[in-house]
Symmetry: C2
Subunit: 652 residues, 2 copies
């Protein structure tokens, strides 16, 4: 059985105090951090390895040599501040913080677990200066920190790492202009120029062109060097110390996946036929062992050469992954979406599919490969993508716009609004909707998207609960809808297959009864929450309480005749939202019941994500928010007017 | 009494067909458009004159000489497409379309009126290709149009005009990168380089630096010329026709306010002591007459020189302005906000005020002048501003972030969310909130902002109803609130002074009874809607129906004990939102009543802006949306279960 090993903090101390040459020490420490990064990502089951390994040497250099932070402490006003704007390289960042004794072991080894480190940086963790993970905000935030230092008369520089793909975000260029104009000179940006974004080369997605000249014309003092060469890093940062009239940027040429031969950019791209396979997700056991052995061998060879004795590691337990159990065959709405898109692409020449560097994650590759002319890749530039869709829609095309919901609904919200005012038809697909998977954390979980589309005067919002419904929903949006639509899709495989409607129909404003019951009725949607709803119904059934469960894929359109039929005389109405309690299906049904006079004095209670979404495994997080089937069963019993006490006891 | 004159369409035809040299003709036509622009803005009472006059020559040149649009017609797939990304120059754009017979007179003269032309371009109008008015989207939208042409094998170029201040928006740089990478070569951008933004020089707000080099490094074929010289424009656009491998951009050096000596950039800046006074708003009678006389004299001198006879004009009626009547002394919440900000700035050194080029409109000038070090001007870069606020808040400052609500809540939504996840405290002020003033149209009216902040887990949203409450609300946010807050502020003077609480207190979660009554209760907020609510109560009172009117400034926090007291046994509850019906105070109260079991079977009816906001004068638009006091009175009576029929008849 596979063992996952940790290099303990005292080993780092041993190397640091060994009296080796500074750069030799750093090389060793960085490789030890690589090993630990690999271990925590493997243990977590996911994480961004490629990006972690490319930026790691720079982070190691900054904390060990470039910054005064360790010396002064993280609370000192004069400390240098570092953070990663992309945030995807958090595992390596944590590894460096652990190696320095900043991050305790229990936090460090529990990457992407409730109570552990978050998938992307979070200020609740020691040593983390700001939350990141959504791209493009870093230079602006660094500027805020740098300006605060100036206002308070505090010393110290602010160092911010960006990705290269990240430079496709418009906010980067906003912030480059304002930082130069405002003469913020205590800020240094570092571009981790690893040349690969999600799974393709940056120059294929949206080329950055002559980047040095771009930075220079934007008024920044610009340097370039090998981001894995400590001597070069030292040279550049020493030079930067002399520059006091401008903000500074280092373009650091790096290699994605650096330090694991088969994960390194060029080789990995070749092996993947042009697609880089190590951007996100954990390696399988074989790849992990090969990679770990390669790094360990290099470390040991170095230790040996310096006469420092072999590396000590400790085996860490492989905590059970704690996934939502997969009840039966996998059902994946994203895959169904991709198939339906391909099918519709064949049927309708006016469909144009738009992507912001998430083609594979969003199930777009089949369409992309079949219809390259009608596939528009915008790179990480959601605002540009949405307004381009607006121009297409005005001129006879039907754009289907894709990104993760947390980015699409939010980053490009005003562009979506502008398009809406033209009353053209555009289909927005908010992928990665809802609470789960919760490993990547708040920057990726989309729990506000319904509310961000909700006040548009005429946009239909849907979330399908299974593969069949996904095809139906997309076909309805493409072929039936007169107006713009937003489709939410969960990104992972469904924990259980949600049953389809018995009559096979998909009717505007109407849902499907998944479980009959007459003690109460629970509305929900999407594979994740419907699975919990059905689990709750099962639990309650064993206690003699019958819960009607309804799949309601129409999140802001309700056929009130149908609603009256399915609610009947049921005493209590519950709604389970895979969204914040504000503005979701719960509010839509509450309003529908009120305006159609169907409320009749009965209570409607909403279950929803009523705080910032937690980071962790699916079951940890569902439980944390009181939304697991078990927790829901108890909450439903507690809410009933005539509480069946003995049932409640049994259920609790 | 002042006369407003129109140069009729046949006068343009006379000049076009006069056989003059092409450039002489254009010069004449453009000046005639200038006169008509001035006339319609004066008649409307508002409009962006400076920007209209700077871009006008280019628009005139494009339609008369540079594009095939008139020849092919606006429905032809091969037509050239022009639009203004900034959209603020709509009055001049309309003048050109009117001069060509595209826009009928009745539409043209009714600028910013219901049923007339919109304050910013709207596709419902003849000749308008896309909606604009919010900045930075134009190149992306033009790219969508250009790509649609390619997909459909259609000819024609897409021409898009941007402002220079507009280049501070990040989306511009996103779109420059993607357009070049995607080799979209049928697109030409034109920068109306008039060097002044809202009221200050671009180089003072956020300097654009070496703009030609910037465009070149972004992969665009770049040219520069005098934007008022038709020979130069012809030269550049002729050269552009030869460039087929790149998108093209012309930096057109122009003069803001061109053609009216005292409105022209440098002179006007000097007269305004560094502030440009003609960006928005109509000139007073004297300035109008002087300006009109200057243009008319120049036109007549030209006509005379070419032997064409004097210019014929027709007097157009000065339709009554149809403002919401000002009942008593002006009450302006923005002014009160600016004063309170200054006061707090003196009390607390941690306050930093942030602006995105709307300092005067947002009442920030007093603070800006008193505390220049703690005033951060971001230019038109809302995302950068918000993330910079995030960095400041993480490091000991209390940022107060200002912009129009429609931009701030929407454009920088993901940045606001990112800040929220850090649980720092930031105060966002959404100016120009709500339906009124409706003249600028949909791009400026903010009716979704509550919904865009609503799903943040811990953000208090307030809208004060008068000057006193504005100071109280800001002081509460600064000194009492533990969390981030959003304050909505209407931008215009209050139509009537909304009474303050009798006890002078401002209590968390509680509102104020403005009018006693027991037949029904109506909750609302903000000076505009409270004025209509009180008007409705007056109307109803004369019919023997007593309406309790409550000012509820807390839009997402309700003290339910208070709520129970003020509602009592009242049969019907009404809520009037200065917002979309989705996600506003209506939903907050509905949820509060439901969860506190106070609903007790009674109906709650929401009055809100349930469609895209109309453009027009305040009363036109309030009436159009059924939200004027008169309309509300009727809607309330209609909604009552026991309709007092004779009252209803009398009221209707």
């Amino acid at each position: 059985m596979l063992e996952i090993k940790l290099i303990a903090a005292n080993e780092f101390q041993r190397v640091r105090e060994s009296g080796l040459d500074a750069h030799d020490t750093l090389r060793l420490l960085a490789d030890m951090c690589r090993a630990n990064t690999l271990a925590t990502v493997k243990r977590a089951g996911s994480g961004h390895l490629g990006s972690s390994l490319s930026s790691l040497d720079i982070v190691a250099w900054l904390y060990h040599a470039g910054m005064n932070t360790l010396e002064l402490g993280f609370d000192h006003p004069d400390r240098d501040i570092y953070f990663s704007s992309k945030g995807h390289d958090a595992p390596a960042y944590y590894a460096v913080l652990y190696s320095l004794g900043i991050l305790p072991k229990e936090l460090f080894i529990n990457l992407r677990r409730l109570g552990g480190t978050h998938g992307h940086p979070d200020v609740s963790l020691p040593g983390i200066e700001t939350n990141s993970g959504s791209l493009g905000m870093g230079i602006s935030k660094a500027k805020g920190m740098a300006l605060a230092k100036k206002l308070q008369g505090a010393g110290g520089q602010v160092f911010v790492m960006t990705g290269d793909g990240e430079l496709q975000e418009g906010q980067i260029w906003e912030s480059l202009q304002t930082t130069a104009h405002q003469s913020v000179n205590n800020i240094t940006a570092i571009v981790d120029m690893n040349r690969i974004q999600s799974d393709k080369p940056v120059e294929e997605i949206i080329d950055l062109g002559e980047l040095e000249r771009k930075f220079e014309t934007f008024g920044w003092h610009t340097a370039r060097c090998d981001g894995h060469d400590f001597a070069e890093l030292e040279r550049v940062f020493t030079e930067f110390r002399q520059v006091s009239d401008k903000p500074k940027v280092l373009i650091a040429d790096t290699i994605k996946g650096k330090g694991v031969s088969f994960m390194e950019g060029p080789a990995a791209l070749k092996a993947g036929n042009g697609l880089y396979p190590w951007h996100s997700g954990a390696p399988d056991d074989e790849a992990f062992e090969t990679a770990y052995a390669e790094i360990a061998a290099r470390i040991n060879a170095q230790l040996d050469a310096f006469g420092l004795g072999e590396l000590a590691t400790e085996v860490i337990d492989r905590r059970e992954r704690n996934r939502v159990r997969l009840k039966d065959r996998a059902d994946k709405v994203v895959t169904a979406y991709g198939k339906a898109l391909l099918e519709l692409g064949r049927e309708r020449q006016d469909i144009v599919v738009m992507d912001a560097d998430l083609s594979a994650d969003c199930g777009l590759r089949p369409f992309e490969n079949a219809f390259p002319d009608r596939f528009i890749e915008s790179g990480i530039a959601e605002q540009d993508m949405v307004s381009t869709a607006g121009g297409l829609a005005l001129n006879g095309c039907l754009p289907i716009v894709n990104s993760f919901g947390v980015f699409l609904a939010s980053r490009s919200n005003e562009q979506i609004y502008n398009n809406a005012t033209e009353k053209t038809k555009i289909i927005y697909v908010c992928h990665y909707a809802g609470l789960i998977p919760a490993g990547p954390g708040k920057s990726h979980q989309s729990l506000r998207d319904i509310s961000l589309f909700g006040a548009l005067p005429d946009c239909v919002i849907l979330e399908p609960g299974n593969e069949v419904e996904t095809r139906q929903a997309l076909r309805w949006c493409v072929n039936e809808a007169q107006q713009s639509c937003m489709i939410r899709l969960v990104i992972g495989p469904s924990p259980g297959v949600i049953p389809v409607a018995e009559d096979g129909r998909f009717t505007f404003g109407r849902g499907t009864v998944l479980n009959e019951g007459d003690d109460a009725v629970l509305f929900s949607y999407g594979p994740v929450m419907l699975n919990e709803a059905l689990t709750a119904a099962e639990r309650l059934k064993s206690h003699g309480f019958s819960l009607k469960v309804i799949n309601m894929p129409w999140l802001n359109r309700v056929d009130v005749d149908w609603l009256e039929t399915v609610i009947g005389d049921t005493e209590s109405v519950f709604v389970l939202d895979d969204h914040a309690g504000y503005g979701g299906l719960g509010d839509a049904l509450l309003n529908a019941l009120m305006s159609s006079e169907l409320l009749r004095g009965r209570p409607l209670l909403k279950f929803a994500v009523d705080n910032h979404p937690a980071c962790g495994t699916p079951l940890e997080v569902l439980d944390y928010h009181g939304l697991s089937g078990d927790k829901l069963a108890v909450r439903i019993l507690l809410a009933m007017k005539d509480k069946p006490d003995q049932l409640l006891e049994a259920a609790s």
